[in-house]
Amino acid sequence: MYGRCRRMLHVGVRLERSISDPKNVRKDEDAVGGFFEDLPVLVLVLCGVATIIAASIWSSGRIADERLDEDLRETAERFADRLVEAAQLTEGVEYPTIDKLRALNITRLAAGLPEDTGYAVSLVQVFPSLEWILQHGSREKPVSEDACASSRLVNAVDEWSRVVIVEVRVVVW
């Protein structure tokens, strides 16, 4: 093993001497064309790196958008649940009346929303006929394209004592 290493070292020293000696340097076209070979390599590496960076930026942007949508959706769901709960809180009565739904204090119920959240609430009777019951919205924040909606169906009693179906729809942005 020691002898083999010595031989290799000896060959290396001889090679260095032969290259450093100007008499041993030839002028021909056999040299490695590094510049033209490295260009495709450089292009491939740059393209690969650019692909990874672009994919990472796009994905992180998308995940951030989805998280924002998810937060808004949860806010809308909670707000809709709160409205339904407030509408149905009447002791001894199975269903709220349409008049009670009209009298809901939406501004008070919306007080629990996160700060700087715009909202719009609509209560529409969807069965047996289509009728507007209530429409209410915040005016503090202009409507944004990033909005999420949630809806619930509740039963209510109309003026003819029929049980109708009312849709509670909430949009938050």
């Binding site: 490695v32 064309g33 690969g48 990874i52 994919a55 994905s59 998308r62 995940i63 069965f127 509740v154």
Partner: protein, 185 residues
């Protein structure tokens, strides 16, 4: 001799390494992009939340709100204040007793219209009523009709008592219209 060997091997190795790196970069980018596409949850087209159970419960508790006559041995007058649950229970009891759904056609039309009003846009509704020991493959009756098998279905169910005291299973199925068409082909 030494220079010629270096030209052939080194150049090829660098290009091969770069190609492998590029392929790995494409693969890694694909994984990163596919990772950002998470599951969309129980939503239909356009992110609409589909809750068949909520629709079914609201429908069963609602009044029929139509006056019509059910022609049986003794004509039965529906005033409109009866709930859908009561009407379905009555129809199921008649079918279980060996009768047909023919006398209940007017009521079934009202239920079908109500289902169409309550279903999300782009969805076909189907309401099936069956006995406790009977499967959904062979329900007592279905309004408007049983949907083709194999279609993607959002469903909700509820139990209602029949007029004879037995429990009846009411199932509401909501099928995307396109999925139903594909399944029927």
């Amino acid at each position: 001799m030494f220079g010629e060997r270096a030209r052939k091997d080194s150049g090829q190795l660098a290009l091969l390494d770069a190609t492998v790196f590029f392929a790995a970069a494409i693969l890694l980018s694909s994984i990163v992009i596919s990772f950002s596409f998470g599951p969309s949850g129980e939503t239909g087209a356009g992110g609409t939340r589909i809750d068949a159970n909520e629709i079914l419960v609201a429908l069963l508790h609602a009044s029929v709100a139509e006056r019509f006559e059910i022609v049986l041995d003794e004509p039965l007058m529906v005033t409109g204040s009866e709930t859908f649950a009561l009407c379905l229970s009555l129809e199921a009891s008649m079918v279980m007793a060996g009768g047909s759904t023919e006398p209940f056609q007017a009521m079934n039309d009202v239920i079908r219209d109500a289902l169409l009003m309550l279903s999300p846009a782009g969805f076909l509704p189907c309401l099936a009523v069956t006995e406790k020991d009977r499967g959904l493959q062979d329900p007592l009756f279905a309004i408007p009709e049983m949907l083709p098998r194999g279609a993607e279905v959002y469903s909700g169910s509820a139990w209602i008592p029949s007029s004879t005291g037995e429990e009846l299973l009411v199932v509401l199925m909501l099928v995307p219209a396109l999925s139903a068409e594909l399944a029927s082909v």
